[in-house]
Symmetry: C2
Subunit: 231 residues, 2 copies
């Protein structure tokens, strides 16, 4: 098998992301908790509102902000002060404004993969505008052959991307921090995939699985993994 | 000049859209106006908040909903009742849930263009998830060769799309309801474009221009226009 194209997830694979959402969830609990009944799981309700809204709102910071506002109104039975809602809007905006901070080893590894002749495609869910803004701010833009912002990372999506690239699934290797989105569907279509965990994983990406999957400690291990695949 | 690819805008070119936003703006004025000082231009302020947020939020109903909430808090100096904010969230959600209603002549025209051998590409701004949901609901999906949801419809974007299609600009003709987004940038890169006005135009798309541009009364006139171009 000859890998020609390396797919890279973006959030929590190339740069920090979930830690920002995690921080805002804690702010939400502080800000809204003081106006909610003491026995309510504030963050549990926020997660439920996010899940409920996901088919309609999709992924990203705008969807998250709308869900925070809705959850805050529901949790406080409409008594949340508008200053609190404004603070939530500002926290959501801060997520969109947040500087892109690359994970350790990303720039060197992508440079080296490129130099080895692989085509590099970033494949990410999330908000179209915000994901492109982060790519632009990351300094990685010139190293990438393509950026695909998609609604779902399922077998159908990966099959379409592989087809568009004009390669076979066994010429494609994907790297990312989500077993559900970056690993299982790629294995499902006959490609290769490696899991590089981030220290936080969004609830909606958590999954039980029985498959043996390749786990790498850092993106720095990707070039050697690709050599092992080919060798 | 031989046109090979026809680009079609989506909102207000293939289906009704702006009338929905227009309706929600009127609802906003009713809902928020009763809590605002009498001398304030409620919709003028909403438009200003939308403009202010656009670089960060981009286009679409989620961005619009966030701007409505922010404008409502500002206009009422924080005194807007949470039931009003909930009503605004519901109005925004209704925009996302709204059934797709094709404009007159769209299905027949796209079918006939396809039968004449043109490749058909929808090129649209807006929210990635929502635009794909509308394509899926429109019944046009099988007639389209590609769908491009983009952040901006400027010369750079059209040049990239034409390059990706492997054609020259003079093989490309674009049809849409916005002179600013669908016509001028396409003419700017040497392509052909026709303006099919919709009865409403979003403030952010309004533009003064001196160029002579092709105006068609209905999408039904597109096949004849393409013949004249080739003629």
């Amino acid at each position: 098998m000859k890998i020609q194209v390396v797919g890279l997830d973006a959030d929590d694979t190339l740069w920090h992301s979930e830690d920002g959402f995690h921080y805002v969830e804690q702010r939400f609990a502080e800000l809204v908790g003081q106006h909610s009944p003491a026995d309510i799981d504030v963050n549990g309700h926020l997660a439920a509102v996010e899940r409920r809204n996901m088919p309609l709102y999709g992924y990203g910071a705008k969807a998250f902000t709308l869900s925070m506002i809705e959850a805050a109104i529901e949790l406080t039975d409409g008594c949340v002060p508008s200053t609190t809602l404004q603070a939530l809007i500002e926290e959501g905006r801060a997520l969109l404004h947040r500087p892109v901070e690359l994970l350790d080893g990303v720039h060197e590894t992508v440079t080296s993969l490129r130099a080895s002749g692989y085509l590099i495609v970033v494949i990410t869910k999330g908000d179209l505008l915000h994901q492109h803004q982060k790519i632009a701010a990351s300094g990685l833009g010139d190293l990438l052959d393509d950026v695909e912002v998609v609604n779902e990372k399922d077998e159908e999506t990966y099959a379409r991307i592989v087809r568009t690239l004009g390669i076979e699934p066994d010429n494609f290797a994907m790297v990312g921090n989500s077993v559900k989105s970056d690993v299982l569907p790629v294995l499902g279509i006959g490609g290769s995939a490696a899991h590089v965990p981030y220290h936080l994983l969004w609830a909606a990406e958590q999954i039980e699985h029985e498959e043996d999957i390749e786990v790498l400690e850092s993106i720095r291990e990707v070039p050697d993994w690709l050599k092992r695949l080919t060798g």
